[in-house]
Every structure is written in structure tokens, then in C-alpha cells.
Symmetry: C2
Subunit: 399 residues, 2 copies
Amino acid sequence: MTSSDPETDAGPGPDFPDAEGRGAAGPGANLPALRGHNAALVLGLLRSAGEEGVSRLELAAHTGLTPQAVSKITARLRAEGLAAEAGRRASTGGKPRTVLRLVPGARHAIGLHLDRDELTAVLADLAGDAVAERRAPLAFEAAAAQVLATVEREVAALRAEAGGPPVVGAGVACPGPLDHTAGVLHRVTGAPQWDGFPLRDALAERLGLPVVLDKDTNAAALGLAQRPPDGAGSFAYLHLGTGLGAGLVLGGGLHRGPRTGAGEFGHQILQLDGPRCGCGQHGCVEALCLAAVARGDLPGAARVLGVAAANLVELLDIDRVLLGGRTVLENPDGFLTGVADVLAAQARTRGRTGTAVPVSLAVGGARAVADGAAQLVLAPLFGPGNPGLAARGHRPGAG
Amino acid sequence: MTSSDPETDAGPGPDFPDAEGRGAAGPGANLPALRGHNAALVLGLLRSAGEEGVSRLELAAHTGLTPQAVSKITARLRAEGLAAEAGRRASTGGKPRTVLRLVPGARHAIGLHLDRDELTAVLADLAGDAVAERRAPLAFEAAAAQVLATVEREVAALRAEAGGPPVVGAGVACPGPLDHTAGVLHRVTGAPQWDGFPLRDALAERLGLPVVLDKDTNAAALGLAQRPPDGAGSFAYLHLGTGLGAGLVLGGGLHRGPRTGAGEFGHQILQLDGPRCGCGQHGCVEALCLAAVARGDLPGAARVLGVAAANLVELLDIDRVLLGGRTVLENPDGFLTGVADVLAAQARTRGRTGTAVPVSLAVGGARAVADGAAQLVLAPLFGPGNPGLAARGHRPGAG
DNA sequence: TGCGCTTTGGCAACAGCGTTGCGAAAGTGG
DNA sequence: CCACTTTCGCAACGCTGTTGCCAAAGCGCA
């Protein structure tokens, strides 16, 4: 569990299947854990409130805690500089409520997007807004040492540029496949030397920061989850670029799967005995969709994507579908209406006329993945229901 | 929220999108909650240990709590009759460890399976084992009052039969669609009078017990999750009877979706422009699969099911696929090998030779759904990661 | 202007949680 | 028989959110 403890678990007695299988038997909670839980909960509500702020009593009502407890918690948060009083609400007959707000600049987080040919690095504040950004060409196929050096240089430049508040960690988003639990890359197509490379720990050591590693689509989905289009508790982010992938947010949390394999959306088979796909199977969405794009049949491509999205909606009962990626952005309206049409037709066959799952374009543009990567380390600060992983490497709570 | 508190939430200030959208902002935790959390955690480990038992120090190691804390917690559990000492382990040089075991008979739970033509009711102990069972014909299409009366009568007979320990609640499994959050049925095909009926609250009042309502496939999946074939943190239960449905257990928890709509597996489209399905779409798995069965093409049916399962494995990164349902059980080997073949082929195309996701038959037989229904109320007793819903209606902790 | 009323929010005392310190109990091995 | 190891509970402790109480701050009516 801790940094220097292999946890051999070789003691006598039964072997608990849940030791690693599922949520690792959920850690037992003590008072510090309880304190952290509530503090994170309050921080999460402060973030949701944004500029508008929240009063102590509203926090109490939403957390279920006593007003007194909220007072104590917010006092600690203010002492740490994470929250501040900001004006007061109109009175409702008595003393007016004091409005509390998150102080976004109190901490920073680094988001890194390692793409095949480019590195995007952002420094984000607690609200998730980027306060600085850098881009650099990157040869992802090159030697690992060179990539690490580039990252280290850019991060140093970023921190020098914006300086100031403590940095809580760095989130790293890569093309898959990889293992977010171990922080290790797997066989990235076209870059065999990365197979098995412990990127998370290597970067944690070089940066002197806690690091979290995840797939690029997962990071993008996590970033989108922080800016709910209208309150997205469950949604799917479908990314159609040179390939097709997905990030799944279920019940407010990112679903990664035990091997970080979830969201492999491109090779869903949509046409039994369909055309052969590069992956060796037949009738994959990705192959069907990209083939349609290649021959200029955009409505056809959108329809294929829509059917796959409809399958996903049906299977997982999600609230919303978000589209992104280069190919989508070349013709956003075409894809949006095409997918929406399929989902509307699906809703009709289910007797839910007028309540089709909405489709929209993922906001954020080219920086979406890097912004989401920063959320990999920011999200855990804002409480449960907020996904993310306990960052590994160096001391947590750095700074 | 509570029975006598409308909680209008009409105060000034921002409207939190997470108030209901996602995990309801996660409740704030106080000391009783902490105590309950840890007690449930320990109970869960005791259940996992089964007959073999666990020592206090092993519990401490697995929870991360201090041995002293475990001693206090287990002392409380023993005082409540939920746990007991049962022998001791061999010494490793000092005082031998005392083995603790769950006392399964300390509490009971009722599991109800309301099928179209039959009611199955079980009384299960804490280990999930049925101590009593009753079956009765049921006209699910009949008037609600008649169905409720039948349920009440059977439950009373069941409790009279096995008597004894307090009953913690009743889990009710129905064919969908329904809303497990509100405990309300939706338009069940062939039984329009149930649409909008608050079955959970009606039963809670008549039985005088907390009641949890869920779909039959979800209950079955939950039941299977308690008896891990080898430690299933994530799996899909595919039920092929007169229709095709699924129950999804992701990361140890049942994934229901915000509208209890998850697991609608039958109408995944697998063949664009395929044969028309009764649902109005084309190329649904259910239609393809059942058509193959009807014409005696079992390998074909198994292959179709296998492809759909492979899509699911790919999308969600699950550990295991379990098959059940009348149609499968008529030819288990055929379906098992057929599905396994497709998954093996998929694993090969992904370069994971020899590590295909295993397929097996869901155990439990005709009583599986009723057993799982009991788990709807039992699972929450055993800690987080254990899904289930806070039962509504009457006092929780009844008895 | 003055007073009562309502609402907010902090100080102090409190009950209860897991933790720490220490000693009794119960074995093994020389 | 004694030294040693390991298990496990009692007692004191620090820290959590809670409760009781009171000051502060505004509204509204006389």
C-alpha cells in the first residue's frame, strides 16, 4: 500500500479473492480518513458552485453534516488557503449568509498529453482552468530517455513560467494500451520499446511529483466530466480520429476496467461477416466508419457511429453522448445530426418519444486531453464520486 | 428526502447539478457512519472467509486498521451475535490466532422473484444460503392487489416456517423495465396496469420490512457476484431465455444505470440492416440468436451470442462471462464452447493468446434470481464495493 | 429610533471513533 | 523450567463531528 511495502500477503490463512480483484476490500477508515473525506466533499461542492459560491448552511444541507461541522471544515480550508469568503447573500430575515468560494489559484496541477508526434503540457488551477500551456514536438517512437527528458524540460519551463502555488502532481495521458494501476505502458503500436516501461514511476522520480497515468480517451472523458454540459452523471465520450475510442463515465466515475481496457470502442462488431478490419476481425465499427469517411459517405459514417452509440446507450443507460476527435471536427454537424437521428429512432422503438439521449460536441478542442490529464490528479481532491487514482510516487500531498 | 421532510431545496443560491444527477454528492460522514463502514468491512471479510474463518490480525491486515480496532469491532459484532470465535490457528511461535467466523443464522433476508407466472420466495441467511423456499403460481397480469396479497401470504408462510432470527428486509426481483431508485415499475409488456405502480413502497407497507426492488437480471448478477467463481470483480451475466438480457457487475458493484436501464443487452445491433427484430430495429442480437435457435442452428446461435459477448468484453474490460437462462441450459456445452471460441479468437487478434476471458455457466439454477434478490438487502450489510441500495420503507435495521 | 424577531456562525463542552502504551495470556523451543 | 514470541484486551489519549449556548447582523414593525 505504501511506497516501500511490497505487501507480500504471504501470511497463513485464507487468500482473499478481493485483495486485488475488486476494489481491494476498501480500506478501513480512521479519523484522518474521515476528515479527508468530508474536506474533499466540501471542496467538491465549492468547485461545483464556481464563481457563484456557496454558504455554509447550503454546504451543510448538501453534505448532511451539521452546520457546526461545516464551519470547522471551512475554517481549515480557509486556513490552508483553499477557500475564502466572498461577499454575502441577501438576508432572508436574519443575518445574511456568508458566501464561500474556492480559491482556484491555491494549488496547481500538471496535465501532460503525450501524443505520437507532440507533447502538450498544461498547468491547471483547482478549477481546472489552464494557467499556462506549452507544446513541443515529440518523437514518441524515439528512445524513452529522450521522451522523458523532453517532458522534464517542458514541465520545468511550465513551472518557471507560472510559478507560485504548490503543484499537487502530474497527470499523464497516452495512447493505449496501458495499465493505469501499475503505471506501465503496454505494446503501443509502432513503438515496441515502450512495452512494459514503468512510465509513471520514471516520471514521478524525474519530476519529483506524484504522477498518474491513464489513456488519452479516459483523460479526455474525465476532463469533460468536470464541466458537465448540464449535469452529466453518466456519459460516453466517443473519439473519432485516425481510430475510434471511447471514455466512459458511469455514475460520476470514470470506468477504466481492471486492466485499463475499458473503452475499446473501435472494434465493436457491428456487422457480422462484414468487411475485414485491420485488427483481424470483421465488421468493426472503426473499419465501417472510416471506410465510409474515406469514400465520402459522411451520412453513412455518422449512421454507423450512431448505431454503435445506440448500442452503448442501451447497454449502459447513459445520459449523454459526446463526440470529438479530428474526423468528427471536420464535419461536426454531419456527425451530430447523423448520430442524433439514430438515437432518436432508437428512443422511438423503445416508446420513449422525445426523450432520446442527447448528443453534443465535446468542448475543449486540441487541449482537451491535456486538461483532462490534469484532472487525473485534481479529481481525487474533490471527493468520492470523483474518480481518479491515488497518485503513486513521491509523497502525496507534496508541497 | 425522508418521509416527513419535503426538502424543497428552494433556498437561494446555486442549484447543484449533482444533487441527484450523480452519486448525490456523497453523504458527509460522521462517527456513526465511520463505525458502520468499518463494521461492514469486517463483516464482508468474515463472509468472504466462509467456513474457514479469519483471525483478528488477518482482518487488521486486510482492512488497514489497527489490530486493536479490529478487536473492538469484532467484540461488538460478537455481542450482536453476528460473529463468533471458532477454534484457533496453529501457533507460529507464540499465542495462536483465534479464528472468527460469521454466524450465518444471526439474520435472515427475504428474496422474492416475481416472474410472469410464478412467485419464488426464499429466506436466506447471512451467507446467502436459502434456509427455506416457497413457490406459488402467480398471475402477474392480474390486479395488483391480488399479486400483493399472494406475496404477503407467501412471505408470512416463509417466516412462520423458518422463524427465529430478525429479518433485515426483502429484495424483490421483477422483469423490467422499472426504476430501482424510486421502486416503481414501468410498462411491463403484457401488463400495462403495472405502469407507474410503486411496488416497493406498497410491499414495504404490507410486509412491514424495508424493501429493495430491482430487475431480475440484476438480482441474478448480484447473487452470482457473492459466489465468485474464482474472484470475479467484473463480470457480465448473460441470460438467454425467451429474451436476452444482461446483468453487469463492474468493479465489484452492480451497474444499474441512473434509470435502471443498464443491461439491456438483447437489442444490441450486431448486423446492420439485418433481419427485423420485434423491437422495430434490425439485426438485434436477440433476434439473430433466437432465430438461429429456432432453425436448429445452435453453433450459429452460440456464435452470435459470442460476438455480442466479445463486444461487451472489449468495451468494459470485464474478467468473466457467465451464461444462464432456459435456452442456454437446454444445451449448455454448445453455448459454452461456441462463446468461448469467439472470445478466444478475439483474444488472439489482440495479441493476448491464452488469456481469453473465461466463460462459464451461472450456478444456481431455477432459484438464482430469488437468491440474488435476497442479496439486494444483504449486500449492503457487507460493506462498500458491495452494491445494493439503502432499502426504503419502514425503519432500516428492523428487528 | 428602538425593540423584537429571525437567521447566521463561532466558542466550549461532550460522546464516540480508532490509536497508542502496556500488560496478561498462551503457546514454542532450548 | 525458563526465555522468547505472538496474540489480544484494558486504559488513556487525540481527534472527529455533535450539542448547547451566545454574540453578531440584518429585517420589520411600532
